[in-house]
């Protein structure tokens, strides 16, 4: 029976949000291609969105603020994705690869 109550508890969502954040971070470090890193970055943003929705549902006095925030995060993530993809195309044109191991002209 406990599994049914889980969906109605703030902690569940916070843990999932933190997990998404952690997985995204891990992916950014581990992934070998820029697209993979971009997907991991999106996971971080969705972790934050989930947090906002959870707090909004369980704690917030005004239940619209969190939703509006989440909508804006989605829009920002989409814009960021478009820019990142266009830059990845530019990288591919110059390096003929989007592998992090091939794109290493700079040492930073």
């Amino acid at each position: 029976m406990e599994i049914l109550v889980l969906s109605n508890s703030l902690h569940t969502y916070l843990v999932i949000g933190a997990l998404l954040f952690g997985i995204g971070f891990y992916g950014l470090v581990q992934r070998q291609t820029f697209i993979g890193m971009l997907i991991s970055a999106e996971l971080i943003l969705s972790g934050a969105s989930l947090n906002f929705m959870a707090f909004n549902r369980f704690l917030a006095p005004d239940p619209t603020v969190g939703q509006v925030f989440t909508l804006f995060i989605m829009a920002i993530a989409a814009a960021e994705c478009a820019i990142a993809l266009s830059i990845i195309i530019a990288v591919y044109r110059n390096y003929k690869s989007i592998d992090t191991e091939d794109v290493v002209d700079l040492q930073g």
Binding site: G17, F21, G24, F25, L28, F34, M37, L38, A41, I44, L45, G47, A48, N51, F52, A54, F55, N56, L59, A60, P61, D62, V65, G66, V68, F69, F72, I73, I76, A79, E80, I83, A84, I87, I88, A90, V91, R93, N94, Y95, V103, V104, D105, L106, G108
Partner: protein, 473 residues
């Protein structure tokens, strides 16, 4: 007059619309530059005219006070100076210059909006507006000459940037969860009640992270050297100076959230400051590329600026503001020289400056003054700024921090002065003379005079900065 409150932003917004229309047609870089320059100079005037405005807009999400207006004026000035000296824009293809100027203007617009926002969502939108434009400016460097590293630096810049945004958003979500509001005014009292709880501290630290990225403070610094090296000289001049002013302004607004009992935040700021200073200065010692060196020196300067924030007092905040304004001027002077000496927009090694005093005496003098100022040698602004920051931190009881900062100043003198040595005592060999236009000459003289004047007359400026800080505390 609500319109006057929003006038600087509105002016740049309309201007960027004009630039957008220009970029859809077949307009060359010359026209676009003339329009943008007019815009930049106009926005300086508008910012100046609106200096004493006060009020709130957009359901109180947007606050206009002396603090925001003063920073806006500084940002507009920085924007205008960058445009004034990037006459040829050597590193960018003529066809895409209208877009280049469009994004430059949008980025400035984002920074202007950022310093006025007092609500988390507004802050996020303004910050992203300015960041996304910057991400796009980096890969606009011409790749037909065989230079391809700008693409690599752009992808690194945006990926690090997204992580910083993600961290900041995560922190914002906790702030929202803890307090149930996104307005800084309401956040403040509610946070004070739970200042001891780790969740509140982590939330503030994460939100600060987004601005540490902009300012290039230690754990968020790794984009700096690569982006500086990869972006064209003029782009780097902008990225290296103008956004940092806005970042410091926002850091001050947010650290005020933790005032006065945020001991954990103070400890964190101290650690980050020390790490930034040592890392930046030690790595800068071995750099041969001029822009890379300035990048690492920028990380070190970000560490110095944090010295003002750790005091958590209005004197310290004012000193930080004064220092970052001074850094803007010193940095712009250094980049002016780099942009002019670089013949076709290529990167400069420190050795390329050999014998500059014979090839272009005025540029050599500008560079020397800028380097002396950054090294913190009197009577220039860098010295006065560091002096204020160090005395502020000392009075607040952070003696070890002051000693470490002083050691760092000593380390940094080595690499700044070796640049001056190359410009003045190495022989030019067969390097050609540098041609400098009339406007650039005037700008470089003006920058040198401002560096000296800010160093000699810190009182009035500090008073202004203190008044500004008082407006937000």
């Amino acid at each position: 007059m609500k319109l006057m409150l929003f006038a600087p932003e509105l002016f740049l917004l309309l201007g960027s619309l004009v630039l957008f229309l220009l970029s859809t047609g077949k307009v060359g870089g010359k026209t676009a530059r003339a329009v943008t320059l007019t815009l930049a100079l106009g926005s300086v005037l508008v910012c100046f005219a609106c200096l004493r405005q006060e009020g709130t807009l957009f359901f109180e999400a947007y606050r206009i006070d002396f603090f925001s207006q003063l920073i806006k004026l500084v940002i507009a000035l920085g924007f205008a100076v960058v445009l004034l000296f990037s006459t040829e824009l050597k590193g960018v293809d003529d066809e895409i210059r209208p877009e280049y100027y469009l994004f430059l203007t949008l980025s400035t617009l984002g920074l202007l909006m950022l310093v006025s926002s007092v609500e988390l969502l507004t802050m996020l939108i303004a910050l992203e507006l300015s960041s996304y434009s910057l991400y796009l400016l980096v890969p606009m460097r011409d790749d037909r000459t065989g230079v391809r590293m700008q693409m690599e630096s752009a992808i690194k810049y945006i990926l690090f940037g997204v992580v910083a945004t993600g961290v900041m958003l995560f922190g914002m979500s906790y702030l929202f969860g803890l307090t149930g509001t996104t307005y800084l005014v309401d956040l403040l009292p509610r946070l004070h009640q739970m200042m001891g709880s780790p969740a509140a501290l982590i939330a503030i630290a994460m939100v600060l992270g987004g601005f540490f990225f902009k300012l290039a403070v230690f754990p968020f610094h790794s984009w700096v050297p690569d982006v500086y090296q990869g972006a064209s000289n003029e782009t780097t001049a902008f990225i290296a100076s103008v956004p940092k002013v806005a970042a410091v302004a926002m850091l001050i607004r947010l650290t005020a959230l933790a005032t006065p009992e945020g001991q954990a935040i103070v400890t964190m700021l101290i650690i980050l400051s020390v790490c930034s200073m040592f890392y930046g200065n030690l790595v800068a010692l071995v750099q041969t590329d001029m822009k890379r060196m300035l990048g690492f020196s920028g990380i070190a300067h970000a560490g110095y600026v944090l010295l003002g924030l750790v005091t958590m007092q209005e004197v310290g905040y004012a000193a930080s503001l004064y220092y970052i304004a001074g850094y803007l001027v010193m940095n712009l002077a250094a980049f002016l020289v780099i942009c002019k000496v670089s013949e076709h927009g290529e990167n400069l090694a420190v050795d390329d400056l050999s014998g500059l005093h014979k090839r272009a005496p005025l540029l050599a003098l500008t560079l020397a003054v800028s380097m002396f100022a950054m090294a913190g040698i009197p009577p220039f602004v860098g010295f006065m700024g560091k002096f204020m920051l160090l005395t502020g931190a000392y009075k607040a009881g952070h003696l070890p921090l002051v000693i470490l900062a002083a050691i760092n100043t000593a380390i940094s003198i080595y690499y700044y002065l070796s640049v001056v040595r190359v410009t003045y005592s190495a022989s030019p060999e067969d390097r050609p003379a540098v041609l400098v236009g009339g406007v650039s000459k005037m700008v470089s003289v003006a920058l040198v005079l401002v560096i000296i004047a800010m160093g000699l007359l810190p009182d009035q400026l500090l008073e202004l900065a203190t008044e500004a800080v008082r407006a937000i505390l």
